[in-house]
Amino acid sequence: MDGTGGGRRQRPQGTALVEARGITKLFGSFKANDDINLSIRPGEIHALLGENGAGKSTLVKILYGSLQPSEGEILWKGQKVGIPSPSAARRLGIGMVFQHFSLFDALTVTENIALALPDRKSRSALAREIEKVSAEFGLPLNPNSVIVDLSVGERQRVEIVRCLLQNPELLIMDEPTSVLTPQEADDLFLTLDKLTARGCAVLYISHRLEEVKQICHHATILRHGKVVAECDPQKESAAKLASLMVGAEIHALSSEVPVPENTRTRLSIRSLSLPEPHPFAVALHDISLDVRAGEIVGIAGIAGNGQGEFFDAVSGEQLAATATAINIDGKPAGRLGVTARRRLGAAFVPEERIGHGAVPRLRLSDNVLLTRHSTGDQLMRVGVIDFEGTRTLAERVSRSFDVRKASSDPEAGSLSGGNLQKFMVGREIDRQPGVLVVSQPTWGVDAGAAAVIRQALIDLARSGSAVLVISQDLDEIFEISDRVAVMSRGYLSEALPAKSVTREAIGLMMAGLGEGRRSNGEELAHAHHS
């Protein structure tokens, strides 16, 4: 796992390459950045840490010229500069790799890169240059591929190569490893080391403390738009960094009650196969999985490997070919719709909050009704809504999951992402469902809310429900799952006990080596060596 060459990393000496002084950014009366000072030296990897909404993105956008600060100044190599636009930032020597890639799906690698370069050399000359740079930095790429056909890791390489072709002196990376397998992340760290060896500075935004400790020379920590600390991340413990980010100690999850053994299977998936519904979707191949009462099964995998299609098939948004492909508490449900599956005791929390899990323009009490209208809660009487009942229920969910809202029954869209996520998970857990299927339970949620949600999932399982969690966050998978399976290109590996499987093995399976379904440690090792 050591992609850094080992040894302590010294922060390079020297004067600052870029310095932000007293940066304040107002959105209306909201201070997204409040008097921020930041200094980055040449050749260092400088971590910018903070929770969602701490102001990291705003600060980075100011440095990259896509936002203008309300107050404060930026110094580049000691000279005061204005950065009115991203192209001005690029001319200075600042490159940026975005978290949500800024690539054009319908264009080729070369075309995408040509768009970012100011000079107008021919496309074939550019393609040769792309091949040269990508080989030099260990980022293999085919210049003629269309972006839509590339994996997420390859897309990130396109972004990085695009920046490198402009010989940047500062490279800003926004959550670069959030979409990568552990192996891809290690490759990325090697590339970053090659860059810093040439004196390029990297501003590295992340909330993954372990990797920050592993690769970064220096860290600046933001909270509520302010710098709360600067430190050497290698000297601090991950727990200390986390408490600086959150401003309070996060209490550890407890699952002291052991997983009950030999309990009955509550969710059973048998040879589920589905063709892809459209060309950019993934077909599901012969998926079988049992989830027993009392346990949490986690499904890991990189985005876009069939998790969305799998969730749709299990929830009933997409019907299976046979009724027995999906069984809820022993009853065949493969040909039943979502509501019928809910009546069998199942509950579903989709990945997409707005539009899929909740209707933003409806009040919370109405959103409660959307999944609870026929689950025996008596919210409907001969087709008439019991508004008192829905309000009571919404209030109960809000209270037990600490959903913070501005009024007693606001529109769902007015809640922050984390609060809405707590509400959506709470809405289903409140039912005490026999089977809960949840996709990305803590996506874009801050650490405090994530802890609440994860604890609730564990408690639900220990009370006798079967819980299936689909997540791209490996830390989350290992934190809460009793067994782990990996989804790759529409295949699901065997579910292995979480305690006996290593992150490396999961990483290899995520990269596609678990596709025979029969993979075990031995075969993985074999596949790795061959």
Binding site: Q68, S85, S87, R90, F101, S102, A116, V148
Partner: protein, 306 residues
Amino acid sequence: MTMLEGILLTIVTAATPLLFAALGELVAERAGVLNLGVEGMMAVGAVCGFAACNMTGMPLMGALAGIAAGMLAAGLFGVVALFFVANQNATGVALTLFGLGLSALIGDAFVGIPGVAVPRVNIPYLSDLPVVGRLVFGEDPFVYVAIALAIGVWWFLFKTRAGLILRSVGDNHNSAHALGFSVFRTRFLAVLFGGACAGLGGAYLSLVYTPQWTQAMTAGRGWIALALVVFASWLPGRLVIGALLFGAVSILQLHAQAIGVGIPSQFLSMLPYIVTIVALVLISRNRALLSVNTPACLGRPFVPDV
């Protein structure tokens, strides 16, 4: 001139106005703007073209006036739909209604006046060849302009940097903005180009195709042009084929009516539209091709952050 030669010639003339309008709309849609006002822009192009030609006696002035009128109308659309970010569908339909009404108002004075004949190209010897002579070397100048335009649009979109920027704006306007390209300027210019082409297509109707002015003479061709762009999967080469197909069916049904095939003429008149719709449905089944070429931001308004 043989019967076959006559039919082929008229097919080309029926296809040309569609090709003009559809090429312009293709460029606008590649930039991510759905302008449903093609019919209206064609109508003002037709009446202004006819009026200018009638007053100066020069078809060239007519063509230029048609282009200018189409651009003015498109500029109006651009200001409302792009600058004020009004709903593109509603603005486009409004432009169509506005253009049809305005053209009727302006054209009132020109109803029933015969047009000025546009001379056909005549190359000695070549134009006198049998069948291909008139078809290849003896069309009116607009036809050659249309073909050059189709090639030019293809070259621009896929071979130049400006075309690449235009496609990138249509594919992902947020990324294009983040790279520092002006989404508004790109789209506004694309819409103006669309207006110029639609205006020229309209002028072709009143200068060459009919040639005279009658109210509502565009007869739904703007809508067909819109459909053709989709039918062609936003590819200029396919657009030429689509325009010729529509032209062929509309001419052949006329001949079928003349021969008297025993089908009510109303049904035959529907034929070009039905063929276009069927073709659209068939082409839509090839999802892979469509999804790579469909501009992902088509019809979506763009408002930059702060």
